[in-house]
């Protein structure tokens, strides 16, 4: 990367320029579907002023990326960029007023990794271990610590799947529920607790009283917690259901319909190609995960299962944990007694399971689709990898770029701020060595608010 003029950006300090800077780009993908050749991006005060083909005159600070392609900084529609602390509260399954922002550390490693992958804005959510998990936040990786959290207390994350029940064991009959020995221990228990929470919220909405209402999860409600649930019922807060399997997505939609929840978003959708049709009308849009590579446990042998599903080892959770029940697969090692029978019992019918063209199929049905990756090694999404994968298996390139930038920005209410290279937006730019979604291209530099936050030449040995 050539920087032909003095840079006033300070990596750690993140100074924002007041003067005008001209960034020369060989090609610009604006995120709106437009591709500009040999363009100049004019930046002032950390914001994009205009994009044209004028050449900067003398006296203007110039950053030369004329050999490279510039795309908007990625907006991660979901992530768990906590790092420092666990985002899975264990004291109770129902924690509507817990905000993940408290557990977002300033541990530089995860935020650095996010920036190195071009993520300049990210929605962070709690983990999936609780039934009503709490609220998310939007952060700015690469920003100085005081400007890290851009917006807080967002949405209400509700996992619908096996995760809240995982790790719970049954309390003895009638016994006290504790951290581990408590409900739910099944999906039906999970869904019951979700419905109970909204039912209790409705009761509270009418009576304005918390006495007589018990979480059973364990604990009793505070007014604050019930207020959050009421906000969801009244459409003042988005309910973000995290559901990966087809059955869980349908359950989420059923719950939303049952309680008339006005604003619904669905994240996950590993079997999204299966529908249902109303996915296209989910009011706040869809976030589709692509299963990214998982370097941990890469030597888990695909043994014993003679069936097609063996190819998709743990596609639902990506953990490769043989004890994980989430994919309804029973992986047994070859030679274990009865392994063939066990293997047959637990398998998924061929009409189900992940599909390589899941994103392409969903994209044909709705425009309100954001893209992300499931990466359980370090919780850092891999936008380019997700995009390459989606494009390889049939999705349109400009549509995919939008799914990683403009559309999630829109979903998070930040369309005026981020997600496109357009006048007025923050100068969040990712400089790529070639076609962004070719595996052979790499990120050369990342700018956030007009400041250089990642320089590949510096960090590559």
């Amino acid at each position: 990367m050539r920087l032909t003029a003095v840079l006033y950006a300070v990596l750690a300090g993140g100074a924002v320029w007041a003067d005008t800077t001209a960034i020369l780009a060989g090609r610009v993908h604006t995120g709106t579907g437009e591709v500009l050749e040999r363009a100049t991006i004019w930046v002032e005060g950390g914001r994009i002023v205009r994009i044209d083909q004028a050449r900067p005159g003398p006296g203007v600070r110039v950053i030369d990326h004329a050999d490279a392609t510039v795309i908007p900084g990625f907006v991660a529609a979901t992530s768990q960029l906590g790092g420092d602390d666990s985002a899975n509260e264990e004291s109770s399954e129902i924690t509507p007023d817990f905000r993940v922002s408290a557990s977002i550390g300033t541990s530089p490693v995860y935020l650095d990794r996010a920036i190195a992958r071009g993520i300049t804005t990210a929605f962070v959510r709690p983990g999936l271990a609780n039934v009503i998990a709490g609220q998310g936040a939007v952060i700015r990786p690469g920003a100085p610590p005081e400007s890290l959290v851009l917006a807080d207390g967002l949405e209400l994350v509700i996992p619908i799947g096996p995760w809240p029940a995982m790790g719970n064991t049954s309390p003895s009959w009638g016994g006290i529920q504790t951290t581990r020995a408590r409900r739910p221990t099944t999906r039906m228990g999970t869904v019951w607790l979700v419905r109970k929470s909204f039912f209790d919220a409705r009761t509270y909405q009418l009576t304005k009283r918390t006495d007589g209402l018990s979480k059973e999860a364990p604990g009793s409600y505070t007014a604050r917690e019930l207020d959050v649930l009421v906000e969801v019922l009244e459409g003042k807060r988005i309910a973000r259901f995290v559901a990966r399997a087809d059955k869980d997505v349908r359950t989420a939609l059923r719950i939303a319909a049952e309680f008339g929840i006005p604003r619904v978003r669905i994240e996950g959708l590993a079997e999204g190609y299966r529908g249902p049709d109303e996915l296209a009308t989910v009011s706040e849009g869809l976030i589709c995960e692509v299963v990214a590579s998982d370097p941990i446990n890469a030597n888990q042998p695909l043994s014993g299962l003679p069936l097609p599903v063996a190819v998709f080892d743990h596609w639902l959770c990506g953990t490769h944990d043989p004890l994980c029940g989430c994919c309804d697969l029973l992986l047994s090692s070859a030679g274990a007694p009865g392994s063939a029978e066990l293997a047959l019992e637990g398998h998924v019918r061929p009409e189900y399971g992940p599909r390589a063209d899941n994103v392409a199929v969903l994209a044909r049905r709705t425009n309100k689709l954001a893209l992300t990756t499931v990466n359980h090694t370090n919780h850092v999404p891999e936008p380019l990898e997700a995009g390459s994968y989606a494009i390889r298996h049939g999705a349109d390139e400009q549509a995919v770029l939008a799914m990683l930038t403009r559309i999630p920005a829109d979903m998070l209410g930040l369309a005026a701020e981020v997600g496109t290279i357009a006048p007025g937006r923050r100068a969040d730019l990712v400089v790529v060595s070639g076609d962004p979604f070719e595996v052979t291209s790499r990120i050369l530099a990342v700018y956030a608010d007009g400041a250089l936050r990642h320089n590949s030449a510096e960090t590559t040995r």
Binding site: P301, A334, P354, G394, V439, R442, T459
Partner: protein, 424 residues
């Protein structure tokens, strides 16, 4: 009939008989961009295959296609040698035996031709693999080379001879224990040979003294120990898994003590950092999957990235790349993807292609037959829909020994992998 006409008739019938006596299987792949890996790509070339061997490669106008040949017109497509994986421990039932020293076992006995691993590798252009034991034993067992061309072990095996013995310096337990175990196994083997030699000498002397008495029985060297003697004699090479730079030093020490040992390094973790020593010792190298190595600088708490392939190349080394173990078809980790990552970080594409064809073939001693598209080599070929390493490029066809072994347009798995299988 006049004598000249008679002899002409005899000549003609002899020629006809010669033509029909040995029917040849002839395949011609025409008008592809051929990446021979033995020189510059041929822009519009033709490959001729007779009975499983390449008999001609060149620009189309310079290769005559005989009558009766199966002709595949491959205009706009790219032909590469079938990809070669030098080292993997997938495709067998379980990679590690529950013994620290087990040189007498061989992966040939736990190969699973039905494994979806093989099916999925071939879909991505791999034709030959070196299947080895895992990394948990100090001395594992023997590895063998297979081609993904049959549903039986015998059909898949490239040779009955083992490729190499597998050693791992990152075995279960401490490194102190691992190195001690290995050295003890070596010394025990040499001791067993010494004892056998002494017993044989003693038996011969006894026989001389007393020719009429029954000859004393000299038990043979324990078969369990024999492969280690082969290793120390240099007749059986070894592949050594190394996880840390210090493992490379330890291997060099071992080589100094046992000079006939022939070793190939399988570099995992941070072992690639010892590239200077590896280059100096001219060791052959296989790179484990995962080419973007990151290290946290404790002072700045920032991550530095080491692109392993570029680092090794700058040190002057050739190396074989590896796919991720038991690669899932949907997910990144295939050999072409590893090569593309290497190109991403600066490895010239021609070298990246070598790292998945010729260099791994050489590493497993099969470069006389595999790894390039050259006359005389096995016709193991992969036809790509477009340029190598591009995200929209797929493997359309695979031939092994000139036989068609894969066609994407007839791949039944696409029904399972796609909701709407691509129309070809």
């Amino acid at each position: 009939m006049s004598p000249s006409i008679r002899s002409a008739a005899m000549l003609l019938s002899a020629l006809v008989l010669a033509g029909t006596a040995a029917a040849q299987d002839v395949l011609a792949i025409k008008d592809a961009t051929i990446h021979t890996v033995a020189g510059e790509p041929i822009a519009k070339g033709t490959v001729l295959v007779v009975d499983g061997k390449i008999t001609a490669v060149g620009p189309t106008d310079q290769v005559a296609i005989p009558e009766g040949a199966r002709v595949i017109v491959a205009t706009g497509k790219h032909l590469v040698p079938g990809l070669v994986v030098a080292h993997t421990y997938s495709g067998i039932d379980s990679p590690n035996e529950n013994l620290p020293v087990a040189p007498f076992v061989s992966t040939v006995d736990s190969l699973d031709p039905s494994s979806l691993f093989f099916e999925s590798q071939r879909r991505e252009g791999v034709t030959t693999l070196g299947i080895f034991p895992g990394n948990e034993q100090p001395i594992g067992g023997k590895g063998v080379a297979v081609k993904i061309r049959a549903d039986t072990v015998a059909g898949m095996l490239v040779s009955k001879e083992p490729l190499a013995l597998k050693l791992s310096f990152a075995a279960r337990g401490t490194r102190m224990q691992t190195m001690a175990t290995i050295k003890k196994a070596f010394e025990d083997a040499l001791e067993a040979r010494k004892k056998h030699a002494e017993a044989t000498t003693a038996a011969d002397e006894a026989k001389k003294k007393n020719p009429t008495a029954p000859a004393p029985v000299v038990p043979p060297i324990d078969f369990k120990v024999a492969p280690i003697l082969d290793l120390l004699d240099g007749t059986l090479p070894c592949f050594v898994h190394a996880d840390q730079p210090g493992d490379v030093s330890r291997l060099l020490e071992l080589l100094a003590t046992y000079p006939k040992l022939k070793a190939t390094l399988v570099l995992g973790g941070s072992a690639f950092r010892a590239h200077a020593d590896i280059a100096k010792a001219k060791l052959a190298v296989v790179l484990d999957p995962g080419l973007e190595h990151t290290e946290l600088d404790p002072e700045t708490v920032r991550e530095a990235l080491f692109p392993k392939a570029s680092v090794l190349r700058k040190a002057g080394l050739d190396f074989a790349l590896s796919p991720e173990h038991a690669s899932q078809t949907l997910v990144t980790g295939h050999l072409w993807y590893q090569a593309a990552i290497a190109v991403k970080w600066g490895l010239p594409p021609a070298d990246a292609l070598k790292a998945i064809t010729l260099w791994p073939a050489r590493t497993i001693g099969l470069d006389g037959r595999l790894g390039t598209i050259e006359v005389g080599k096995d016709a193991d070929l992969a036809l790509l829909s477009g340029e190598p390493f591009k995200v929209r490029t797929f493997v359309e066809r695979v031939w092994i020994d000139g036989q068609p072994k894969y066609r994407r347009d007839q791949d039944p798995w696409l029904e399972r992998l796609y909701y709407k299988p691509p129309v070809r």
